[in-house]
Symmetry: C2
Subunit: 355 residues, 2 copies
C-alpha cells in the first residue's frame, strides 16, 4: 500500500467502506474483499423507493457531489431522497491499486469495466439497504457511462436516468483521448511499470496528464475569456493562466495515484452498453425503460452534444436537455450558478415525472 | 548535421535554397547564412504585380501546397500568377536545427518569431525577384499567422490577404496546446536536451506528439464517421483506426525532427501581431489595408471560427468566409473536394477584387 493524502476523509469528506466479498470481474480475475467507498445523504423511507444512486466520474470522488450538487432545496434534496454516492472501483477511495495488497496491488490490479461497477453498486444497494428500485440514477462523464449501464443492465430497477456529459458507448475520439492521457503516465521514467514507490515519482507524467486535460476538459472560450479569474478556492485566487494551470489543474491531478488514473482510463475507454447486445447500440439503448433526460454540455470538447444527441434518439421516450457552461466538460465542477440552476431545473422536472 | 530523409527533394518535391546572409532575429541572436527553401510556380510578369506568397504551416512544407492547392484552372493558377511557397525557418527544409552546423545547431538553435519569417520572406522576394507588392498572401494555420504578420507589418506590400484556419494573435488555448505538444518531445528520455543522434531516439515522444494531434487536429466527427476510410495514400488504404493512427498520424509526425517541431512550436506559441502596437490587437489589425478574407474551418478544434471571427471584425473591410471540413484543422490537407471547391471559390473572388 502507498499512503496518499488525497484519498482520505480529511481531503474528500466522510465516507463509509462497505465490503462486498470477493468480486469476480467481467474481463476475468477477482478483486478479493472488494470495498466500495460510499457517502450517503438523507434517509431511506419505509417503502424504500426514494433512493438515488450517483456513480462518480474519472478522477472524481463523492466530494464534488456533496459540495456542489446535494443540498436542501436543491433537486438532489436529502430531506426528500436517500442519496447514495458510490465511488467507482479504482478511484482511490474504493478498492484501488495503491490501497490494496497482495495479488491485485499496483501493476497487478485487474481490468475493471463499467459493468463491474454497476454490478457492484447493485449488490451494495440490495445487500446493505434492501433497495430494489432507484428513483433516479444520475452521473456525469464516466458517471454517465455507469448511468446508461444501470438503465440497460437493470431496466426494472431504474425509474429515471440522467446521464450528464457522457455517452453510453465510447466514441473513437474518446478512445484516442483516454489513450493520450494514459500514455503521459506510462511513458514517464518514474512510472517503473506501475511499481513506483510514491505517486510523486511520476510527477512529470501527472503534470503532462493535467496538460492534456487543459486542452479538452475546458473550452477554448474558457481560456479566451480568462474565466478562471472568477474561480475561487479556499485561500487562493488565480491571477495568471500559468498559476491556474499549476495551482488548479496540475495541483488536482498531481495529487492523484497514477495506477488509479490508469484503472479508470482503461475502464472509460471500454465503456459500451452494446456489450449486452453483441455490438448493437440501438438494441441496447432500446432496452431502457427509465424516463431519461440526456444532458450534454454545450461547450464539451470530447462528449459533444451531437454525440449525446445521437444516443438520446435511441432511448425510448427520452429527452435531450442541453446544459450550458463555458467551462465545457469541467462545467461538471459547477463553477457557474446558471449551470447549476439549469441542471437542478431539469433534475427536478425529471424527479417529478410519473413513471 | 543529422541526415533525415523526410527533408529531401525526394520526399517533398523540388525546391531551391536562397541564402539571405547572416540574419538577425527579433528575440536576439543571428542565424548565419540563413537559407530559405523555396518552390515557385508560374512566371513573374514584367510589372512584377502577379506574385503570390504562401508561407507554410507547423510541420508542413511546400509539398501540400504544390500537390493540393496549386494548378492550372485553380484559384492559385501558375499560368496567371507567380506563386512563391516559402518554407518557414526551422521547418526542416529552410535553415533548421538539424541541418546546420556550429553555433546554431540542434539545441543551440535560437528562438525564431513569426516576424522573423516575414522579414526574411520580404527580403527574399525583394532581393531575388524585385517584388515590392504581392497580389496575395495566403497561408493556413501558422501560415495564417505569417499572413496576418505580412498584412500588419507591410501594409503597402500586401494587396490581398487570406489567413486560413489561424489567428493573428495566439490564444490562451493554443498556448496550452503548443506546450502540450512540445512537452511530449522534451520529456522523452531520448531527447537528451536536444542533442539526440537521430530523430528516432525520440520515437516515443514523436508518437505521443502525434497522439495529441489526433485529439485536436481532426474533429470528433471525423473519428466518429471513420472518415479516414476514404483517405487514400499511394499504396495504402486504411482499414482500422489503429492503422490510420500508426500509418498516417504517427507515420507523418514520426519522420520529423524534434528540434524542428520545437522551433516551430515556440514560434507558434509567440505569434502575435500586437507586438507591433504594444499589445493592442485592434490597433495592429487596424493597420491592415489588404482586402482580407478570413477563413476559419467550421470543425477546427483549436482555431475555432469564433476566435477567427473576433479578429476579422477588427480588420477594416474584411470578410468572414467559413470553410467546411469534417477533418477540422486538418481539412487543410484537402481531403475533401467540397472543401477545395469552397476555398478556390473564395480565393478566386478575392483575387478578382480590385484593390
Amino acid at each position: 500500500m502507498i499512503q496518499n493524502d488525497f484519498y482520505t476523509p480529511e481531503a474528500q469528506g466522510a465516507y463509509e467502506l462497505h465490503g462486498l466479498g470477493d468480486f469476480a470481474l467481467e474481463e476475468g480475475g477477482t478483486i478479493p474483499d472488494l470495498q466500495l467507498a460510499v457517502a450517503t445523504f438523507g434517509t431511506l423511507n419505509e417503502a424504500r423507493d426514494n433512493a438515488i444512486c450517483i456513480p462518480t466520474w474519472f478522477s472524481g470522488t463523492h466530494a464534488t457531489w456533496e459540495q456542489v450538487y446535494i443540498g436542501e432545496g436543491r433537486a438532489l434534496d436529502p430531506s426528500r431522497y436517500f442519496i447514495v454516492v458510490i465511488n467507482q472501483i479504482g478511484n482511490g477511495l474504493s478498492t484501488s491499486p495503491h490501497n490494496t495488497d497482495g495479488d491485485v496491488a499496483m501493476s497487478r490490479f485487474p481490468k475493471v469495466t463499467i459493468g463491474d461497477d454497476v454490478r457492484a453498486q447493485e449488490q451494495l444497494l440490495r445487500e446493505v439497504w434492501g433497495i430494489e428500485r432507484l428513483a433516479l440514477v444520475v452521473g456525469g462523464s464516466m458517471g454517465a457511462q455507469q448511468t446508461y449501464e444501470w438503465a440497460v443492465r437493470f431496466p426494472d430497477k431504474v425509474q429515471r436516468a440522467a446521464p450528464i456529459a457522457g455517452t453510453a458507448q465510447i466514441t473513437p475520439h474518446d478512445v484516442l483521448f483516454t489513450q493520450a492521457l494514459m500514455d503521459t503516465l506510462t511513458s514517464d521514467p518514474g512510472w517503473n511499470d506501475g511499481e513506483y514507490a510514491s505517486h510523486t515519482d511520476v510527477a512529470g507524467g501527472l503534470r503532462r496528464h493535467a496538460g492534456i486535460w487543459s486542452l479538452l476538459g475546458l473550452s477554448t472560450e474558457f481560456w479566451k475569456t480568462e474565466f478562471w479569474r472568477g474561480i475561487e478556492l479556499p485561500d487562493v485566487t488565480f491571477t495568471s493562466l500559468e498559476q491556474f494551470q499549476a495551482g488548479f489543474m496540475e495541483g488536482v491531478f498531481g495529487a492523484m495515484d497514477p495506477n488509479a488514473l490508469l484503472t479508470m482510463g482503461w475502464k472509460w475507454q471500454h465503456g459500451d452498453v452494446a456489450r449486452h447486445t453483441g455490438g448493437d447500440l440501438a438494441a441496447a439503448l432500446g432496452r431502457i425503460t427509465a424516463k431519461t433526460f440526456v444532458m450534454p454540455i454545450d461547450e464539451d470538447m470530447f462528449f459533444p452534444p451531437r454525440d449525446c444527441a445521437a444516443e438520446q434518439a435511441l432511448v425510448p421516450g427520452s429527452e435531450l436537455r442541453v446544459l450550458h457552461s463555458i467551462a465545457g466538460h469541467f462545467g461538471l465542477f459547477g463553477f457557474e450558478p446558471s449551470y447549476l440552476a439549469e441542471l437542478d431545473a431539469h433534475l427536478s422536472e425529471l424527479l417529478a415525472t410519473d413513471v
